[in-house]
Point group: C2
Chain length 462, copies 2
Amino acid sequence: MTKQYFWTVFLILIFSVVGICQNEDEDALFIKDIHDFTLTESQCYDWLTYLSTECKGRLAGSEGADNAVKYTKEIMDTLGFTKTWLQPCKVKKWNRGDPERVHIKYDGKKVKLNALALGNSIGTPDGGLLAEVIEVQSLDEVEELGRAGIEGKIVFYNRPMDPTQLRTFNAYGGAVDQRVWGASKAAEYGGLASIVRSMTLRQDDHPHTGTLVYKEDIPQVPGVAISTNDANMLSKLLKEQKVMMSVWTNCSPGEESISYNVIGEIKGSEFPDEIIVVGGHLDAWDVGGGAHDDGAGCVHALQVIHSLNGIGYRPKHTIRCVMFMNEENGLAGAKEYARISNEKNEFHLAALESDAGGFVPRGFSFDGDPEVLKPFYAKVSKWLPLLEAYGLYFTTGGSGADISPLKSQKGLLIGLRPDSQRYFDYHHTAIDQIEAVNKRELELGAASMASLIYLIDKYGLK
Amino acid sequence: MTKQYFWTVFLILIFSVVGICQNEDEDALFIKDIHDFTLTESQCYDWLTYLSTECKGRLAGSEGADNAVKYTKEIMDTLGFTKTWLQPCKVKKWNRGDPERVHIKYDGKKVKLNALALGNSIGTPDGGLLAEVIEVQSLDEVEELGRAGIEGKIVFYNRPMDPTQLRTFNAYGGAVDQRVWGASKAAEYGGLASIVRSMTLRQDDHPHTGTLVYKEDIPQVPGVAISTNDANMLSKLLKEQKVMMSVWTNCSPGEESISYNVIGEIKGSEFPDEIIVVGGHLDAWDVGGGAHDDGAGCVHALQVIHSLNGIGYRPKHTIRCVMFMNEENGLAGAKEYARISNEKNEFHLAALESDAGGFVPRGFSFDGDPEVLKPFYAKVSKWLPLLEAYGLYFTTGGSGADISPLKSQKGLLIGLRPDSQRYFDYHHTAIDQIEAVNKRELELGAASMASLIYLIDKYGLK
């Protein structure tokens, strides 16, 4: 080795090391800037306050949803996007109708239960239903009891969410089949209606609505959720005696109409044809403010743009912010977004959805084909120390319902993972309101998303 | 190597590896049992409900504190301790007196502020104080302004907690000198009273009380906290005009009395002379339920014992559960506990305090002399994977005010680190009530503490 060559190699090595360190320092500083900006100058909490109070009950096709479309489009128009637009999609409304009347009758008493009809449910006959209640723990138990045990009765599904699941979404996943399929399963054996224990780990008086799906070729019967306190009370009674229940609802499927995904796009400076999406869903169940589900996700996505702009970051890739319509009862917006994207031969490098509430962020879950995930994991492991400093960790798992139709484009799908302990206290209830959201927790979610988007945009995925 | 020798070594190696794996599996299962039990059969939330409603306003020396002593002693007597006892300590009461009356006067208007006298503060003269308000950002600024700027005025300390601090305790630490020393600093330069912006990151109407300390040889003047909304409003006004303020309080130091630490002890089966303490403090500020501060810590400590008992664990070391009295305004209980312990030549191997709220646990901070920490860190790194599964991480830092006097015994001091984002929303306010506590978050805190206590008890610290 000549002396000159030695020094050349030596200096290259030194500069490389310094370069790497500078990059890491630069990224750490940038991520701190994102957090500092978001914790001091964010607007997401104010946006969410408006969205959950002035656009409440925003089920697709409702006035609340229309207002939410208008409002978030207006916000987008202030955020410096290259362009913003409304993407039409056909949605089917569902009407709750008048307040549900569900009573149990025993020992000459008539006790009103805290109840909400399930989304997509039909109503009862005009005069309501009156029948004996039978408690079951599962869809399987209905099959076991068969027509002899079920016919002419109201079926009460009472298997609780499993409190030993640390991540409450797993507990939800282990119980929600009762809500989704309970009515059709009951009807299959002659049951008159399905009454479901609310999907929550709390013991309280708030019923939780949510989607019910009717199986084809099986008669449709009404589905209703009751509060966990009422479910406990009813279950206790049923151990002692026969209980009659009266159910009256007048919910009904509504008309088809046009609603919209709300989209903003910043054209990428280096890779304009590679799209990074960040989004949440704009619709929410009719009974509440949809603050955590999923107003939080919408304002998270908007805040990502506001924060990156706020500290002067200009993305290399095209970044889109999407407020998806109709996640709760049809996914029409997500399907339409993917359909049009595929039609245009677009490529989504990455899609990040926030649809697990505005709680303190704990990390991200990654989903994608193995050939996408493998090189990404090698890369992302280098990013982890930058995010661990903010209490953020990576895991493999589901991302989000609205971005899942993009999976066929072979990009990376990502879900924000906020702390899940309180999510199902509010999910699909009348108390999912701004008061249930802590401003800093919401802001930290947005800052963590902006940090990840920054890293993906700057370094790509391979 | 003979063939026999080879096989002996080989088998020893295999059994060691199997042994280690078995231990790890056994520990993982045990920690899962602790969590499962705590998430399904805990009593901590019910205990906290009682403590924060029936023993509210439990400042040392008050009826609420007496009730809390009785109540937690009764609980302890059901938890299978070897023995339980009350340890007397001399406390000095402080009386808030009648509701504070703080008004600002400008443009012919008189506006009432949301205010709370600071703990230990003297009251105003009978007729109250009326003077011009001057805003400062720090104790230093008072010095800079000097007697010319301060004399005869009411000093308004308005430096906010720093929102960019991820851990809110750091933001608190960076602002609380104004509350603690503001009155004496004002008085040093002829100020008539100290009005402090509440120690919280929220913008709301709830004033936060807390301790004030008077410096010796400086005249005592009243100290009062006002809500952040009022502080913002006042600050804005002061930019435009002179503002007069009237302050009336009749708080006063109270009489000395005897209160108690409440202690339960399980004698260790192998190392009865090595004590592991788990505790929280029983007293709380007079205005609220003390649910997070520090009812949560007390029921955490009780639940650790209930959970370890519940799954049949018999400790090798002596385990003590201590409800310390008078952390908020004197630390009399903690000092007395350490004094008696030192007098008896006891050795506390480890002490774990929960005094940062009943929020979802994020890990533990360790404190101790270097010769304690060094071997411990080598050991604890092996435990980390067991706790990481529950989202728990280790850090170095402060432990807890009540256990800090035990540091001279050269054991390990540990603080539970719950998520800190919401803590100062409630700290020292009237809204620190059971409604602000999520049952599962509280339970997870207790389960994480029980898991660490189990590992320390089983494996020791060296």
